[in-house]
């Protein structure tokens, strides 16, 4: 494949080669898995559900549960209403979740299935719930599906009782369970009462117990989703991912919101901690100050190995922007920033970031793909590649080290357990980036230049 990527850029307006995105439903499935005792349900052909579960399983190395309406020819002609009704009955009968979260697919959207109507007509056992969201695969990306599903939960369930609960509503962005754990840890350290939706920690990084359970211990509870409506304010992390959900909550329950970049790197984490400080009025505890100080120490000790190194970053929009931020903080130049998810806001935010650091000559592109990034690199190479597993072909072809960050990572282990957010996450990223660059230096230098002390 690698020789098949020509150096010469050609006009390519319709053909997508080697995407940096996938479709909405898998994002919806991931969000629904972050709700306690929830069965994600794919309303469409069987393959969709199977592919999404495979995608999530390959990334998390954990079972990802979801059911399907299993469309047949008949459903594609007469609509999927009866499939959904049968599915709802079967799911409650046998898998017994507390809630079913239905998302649509390109097929059920195109044939015009009326999900609200179907769900109203369905027999739902006493005390059980069915919610839905529309996730047409031909709009946006998996990121869109993720926030659509979160908004679906809010629209169906969140209520304002008129009595505030003193809590912060947190939308964590499209991140790993390890990141969600870190966000929760920081909020606890800051003495902030919170409700986080979704929360895939304890679900997709559940411990080995010798028993398989369809619904592991983790996930946001239904009671908490209801109570989101009583929160004092909401904070959306990842401005391009979480604003829609925060806005939905504001519209429905008048909970004011604020959005921040994903807390990746020093400045973004500072902003997160300060927002928690303003919310809870609690002092920043020494434990957090210490972590920040350690990060400063590490960045200072190692700065000569990262200074002016060029890096290409690809992946989900907020993750790419966060990684560009920390790269800039480490003195690196984010020469190429590419996301597959469409949306002009990405380009604007990337440009603003570059301006803030006074860096020129970098390219950012929304709705891009890996093939084009590969062509750019062929024409003007970089020192480091940051992104998911699919970058490994480019990394090998161009002999550039790859630091694996983002979705999906299907060829390594542990990534989903550890954070990239917070000061701890930044320390981890610094280690990953430094190891990649310094291993490369050790590998490439002449014998006489091999340094024992670095």
């Amino acid at each position: 494949m690698l020789e098949l990527t020509p150096k010469k850029l050609s006009d390519r307006s319709t053909l997508r080669i080697n995407p940096i995105k996938t479709c909405q439903p898998v994002g919806a499935m991931y969000a629904a898995l972050g709700v306690h005792q929830c069965m994600p349900h794919s309303h469409g052909s069987q393959g969709c559900c199977s592919f999404h579960r495979m995608f999530l399983t390959r990334h998390f190395k954990d079972p990802a549960i979801a059911s399907s309406s299993s469309f047949t020819e008949g459903a594609s002609v007469f609509g999927g209403g009866s499939n959904l009704k049968t599915a709802i009955k079967n799911i409650f009968d046998i898998y017994d979740p507390e809630i079913i979260a239905v998302h649509t697919t390109c097929l059920s959207e195109t044939i015009g299935d009326d999900l609200s109507g179907y769900i109203q007509d369905a027999k739902v056992p006493e005390g059980k719930l069915v919610v839905h969201t529309n996730t047409p695969s031909y709009v946006g990306s998996h990121i869109t599906g993720y926030y659509n599903m979160i908004s679906g939960f809010i629209k169906y369930l969140s209520e304002s009782t008129g009595e505030k609960n003193g809590k912060l509503a947190l939308f964590p962005g499209f991140v790993n369970p390890g990141d969600m754990r870190e966000m929760k840890r920081l909020m606890k350290l800051m003495g902030t009462e919170f409700i986080m939706l979704p929360d895939t920690s304890g679900v997709l990084d559940a411990p080995m117990t010798g028993n398989y359970t369809m619904y592991p211990k983790g996930g946001t509870t239904i009671a908490d989703i209801r109570d989101l409506g009583n929160c004092e304010m909401s904070l959306g992390l990842g401005e391009l991912t979480s604003e829609f959900a925060a806005d939905t909550l504001e519209k429905k329950c008048k909970v004011p919101y604020k959005t921040l970049p994903l807390p990746i790197g020093v400045e973004n984490t500072d902003a997160f901690i300060m927002a928690l400080n303003q919310f809870s009025k609690n002092e920043v505890p020494y434990e957090i100050e210490e972590e920040r100080g350690q990060l400063m120490d590490i960045l200072l000790d190692s700065h000569q190995y990262t200074h002016n190194k060029t890096v290409a970053i690809f992946g989900d929009p907020d993750t790419v922007l966060g990684m560009a931020q920390i790269a800039l903080e480490m003195g690196m130049i984010p020469k190429y920033m590419v996301t597959g998810t469409p949306g002009a806001a990405f380009d604007r935010k990337a440009a603003a970031l570059l301006e803030k650091f006074g860096v020129e000559g970098c390219t950012a592109k929304q709705a891009g793909d890996l093939f084009e990034l590969h062509q750019w690199i062929k024409n003007d190479p970089v020192d480091l590649l940051i992104g998911g597993t699919h970058g490994k072909q480019v990394a090998r072809a161009e002999d550039i080290p790859l630091v694996r960050v983002g979705f999906p990572i299907i060829d390594r282990y542990v990534h989903s357990y550890l954070p990239i957010v917070g000061y701890k996450g930044a320390i981890r990223l610094a280690e990953l980036i430094l190891n990649a660059l310094m291993d490369r230096q050790d590998r490439d230098c002449e014998d006489e230049d091999l340094e024992m002390v670095m």
Binding site: E3, R16, G44, S45, C48, R58, D62, F71, T209, G210
Partner: protein
């Protein structure tokens, strides 16, 4: 029926304990709505069969997901071209769904032709393509006329059947590619159907055939190239390995090109040896028969003592199988028998009635047989039957591990070639490694669920 709690009433007929008799198992039907099925779709079936054709361009016409999920989906290896490891899609957007996607498809083909020189482009039509009214046959015809290459439609909307329907669509596309205007003279070579060169298995089989003096004309489709595929009609015999996906093609080739076929399996010492002898007799050349006998003898002498070393670790262990097709399940049961292991649960996604018939004769009376199982059923039966190892695919791996049951991937993610004599050694080594890994000690011996 045991384990009622884990079984949907509609599913009961698709599960049986092998002592049950009567009409046999319910299979080859659509999944129940609401089931957490492990099955994939028509498009997936078509794509996995055609994807290993290394110098073809695989253009997925639909929203991005279908292309994303199948990008480099199987570990099909190539000895030369790597183009098939890219992902091409028309990435349909909302406006295309409203106004139709034909123009975009035409433009995408033009863009491929502007910078590459493919011999064939497969155009996969996914779920919504028919619904939005795109005439991909016309687009393909026009592109063929314009560029003088083959542009073959693969109509594989996910809802139009099971994965098996997709296999048929792929077989039709292959027939369309390889059917010559005039039938060529027969050679003494054979075609291999239904090996996808996962972890290089096609190379092992080709090497065996070379050793016994049988020439291979075309590999269908592992490590295949378009020009080689086009030679396929000149073969004198078809060897069908993955019967589930390729019997349909073999029958068509028999009718159209007068090539008879035999079903073969290269999983396990017994099946590999039997298959080589059957090939030798089918080719009918005395020297080939002699060489096959000698080769099998030599390999058995080499491999069986090595296998016996593993056998003491494997004997008496209980195996569970959940794989795509019935033919593979049958081979696996035989292999476990060779290792002195007992198959206590066996299921497939797309097995046929005949497959299940054979399976029921191969396993013990109390073994569980299931068609199109879901994780809850797999869990319930693995626990009840006390399985020590599960052989399955990507979605089954974490399930087994969560239960503390050892695992071996016999699907896209297999780590080593599992075909032939060395494949049998690899398989024994892998299941031994997984079942007897020190990890079970560390996690406290909870594998005896």
């Amino acid at each position: 029926m045991k384990n009622d709690a884990a079984i949907l009433p509609e599913r009961a007929q698709s599960i049986r304990f092998s002592e049950c008799s009567g009409d046999g198992i319910k299979c080859e039907s659509a999944s129940v709505s609401g089931a957490v099925s492990q099955r994939a779709c028509v498009y997936c079936g078509a794509r996995v069969v055609l994807n290993p054709i290394t110098d073809a361009f695989h253009l997925v016409h639909g929203p991005i997901g279908c292309a994303s999920y199948t990008w480099d989906i199987r570990g099909s290896l190539s000895s030369d071209e790597e183009g098939y490891r890219n992902s091409y899609s028309t990435d349909l957007r909302e406006t295309d769904v409203i106004f139709g996607g034909e123009k975009k498809l035409v433009a995408a083909i033009d863009e491929i032709m502007a910078s590459h020189a493919p011999k064939v482009i497969f155009i996969y039509a996914t779920c919504i393509v028919g619904v939005i009214g795109d005439d991909i046959d016309a687009v393909c015809r026009n592109a063929e006329a314009k560029y003088g290459i083959r542009v073959i439609p693969v109509k594989s909307p996910g809802f139009s059947g099971t994965k098996k329907t997709g296999y048929k669509m792929a077989c039709n596309a292959i027939m369309s590619l390889i059917t010559p205007a005039v039938l060529p003279e027969k050679t003494c070579g054979v075609n291999i159907l239904g090996d996808f060169n996962l972890a290089g298995e096609m190379w092992i089989i080709k090497n065996y055939l070379r050793r016994i003096g049988v020439e291979v004309v075309a590999n269908i489709t592992g490590d295949a190239k378009v020009e080689d595929l086009k030679q396929a009609p000149s073969a004198q015999l078809n060897l069908v390995q993955c019967a589930g996906s390729m019997t349909y093609l073999a029958k068509q080739m028999e009718e159209a090109f007068l090539i008879p076929f035999i079903k073969v399996s290269f999983f396990g010492v017994t099946d590999t040896s039997d298959s080589l002898m059957r090939i030798a007799y089918a080719v009918g050349d005395k020297e080939v028969i002699q060489r096959a006998k000698a080769f099998i003898e030599e390999e058995k002498n080499r491999v069986i003592p090595l296998l016996n070393k593993y056998k003491k670790n494997l004997e008496g262990k209980k195996a569970a199988i959940y794989v795509g097709g019935g033919f593979k399940a049958i081979s696996l049961i035989r292999q476990f028998n060779e290792f002195g292991m007992n198959t206590v649960m066996v299921g497939t996604q797309t097995g046929s009635k005949d497959d299940y018939e054979v399976i029921s004769h191969l396993v013990d009376e109390d073994a569980v047989i299931l068609d199109d199982a879901n994780p809850a059923e797999l869990e319930a039966f693995m626990k009840e039957m006390g399985a020590d190892i599960l052989v399955g695919g990507v979605k089954e791996r974490p399930l087994a591990y969560k239960l503390g049951v050892a695992f071996c991937d016999h699907n896209h993610e297999r780590k080593h070639p599992l075909a032939g004599y060395e494949g049998t050694l690899n398989f024994a080594s892998e299941i031994n490694l997984s079942m007897n890994s020190p990890v079970w000690e560390i996690i406290g011996g909870i594998n005896n669920v």
